[in-house]
Assembly symmetry: C2
Homo-oligomer: 138 residues x 2
DNA sequence: TAGTAATTAGGAATTATTCTTGTTTAGTAT
DNA sequence: ATACTAAACAAGAATAATTCCTAATTACTA
């Protein structure tokens, strides 16, 4: 959290109660929550919190690269505070997103066609399948 | 297009004028268009087309795996008809999505943690960077 | 401790998508 | 060819997700 505060100051972002709580909540969440989900969780601690603030804060923090917006095919945007290199595997049944690391993928050369395309800055693997919990069910 | 018609029949989908035109348009598009974009393009040929039909048709074709919904962080859903294994590189500046193939990625083993997670059915690489056209500009 | 620019709350507005209803049409059986 | 029927369609209303607007509040600065 101290790191987060410093990062805010460096980015000229005021360290507000709302930002701290939102970041804390997102950082400890494992489920890549949506704005609405975060709002529901935070309203207990911050009864006057507005949904707009959640959206605005998420956008602000994302712009300053303090959090990431997760790529999904869902209609609601989902976020995560985990910023070290990692990838996602999504269960097509329950839609749970699970993190994993993949050093080989991070380092392997991209195809020539991509080198010709331009400069790659980030790479992400998104796997899809059926998680074990779901596989046990009909 | 003949293949598409047969695929429709096999899936018990009626071969309607709207479906044919939409699929034709999507199949020749290179830009992974959204529902709205497709609608604007199709309205010239199909003046009575409704936006809802575009949404409905895209959803139907996706369900039957005749087209794919592309993972993006944008608010509008984007689609493609290309169904052979391929991946995407997105320009963070102009948001253009470019396809590429990557045999090595398709075949390389996924990390052990993922094997423990469940059964992976599809894998997708999403790269992000700056395309050459954008790099030339300030 | 006061000043001020950034941030917030709350509600209105917008955007993207889905639903509802009545009409049309593709595929099928005559 | 013609009629039948379920599927698909058009149009507009409704919903969901997100953003905008304005006045009030608050974090940082002097």
């Amino acid at each position: 959290m101290k790191e987060f505060e410093n990062a805010c100051r460096e980015a000229d972002l005021k360290v507000t109660h709302q930002r701290l709580e939102l970041y804390r909540e997102l950082a400890q969440a494992e489920d890549h929550p949506s704005a609405e989900t975060l709002y529901k969780r935070l309203i207990k601690k911050l009864p006057t919190l507005s949904l707009d603030t959640v959206y605005r804060t998420l956008a602000t923090l994302e712009k300053h690269r303090l959090i990431t917006r997760v790529q999904t095919i869902e209609s609601q945007a989902r976020y995560e505070a985990k910023m070290d290199k990692h990838h996602h595997v999504v269960c097509s049944r329950c839609r749970t997103i699970t993190d994993f690391t993949w050093d080989h993928f991070d380092e392997v050369q991209v195809p020539k066609a991509v080198v010709g395309w331009g400069k790659v800055i980030r790479r992400n693997a998104v796997l899809e399948g059926i998680c074990k919990a779901c596989a046990r069910q009909p």
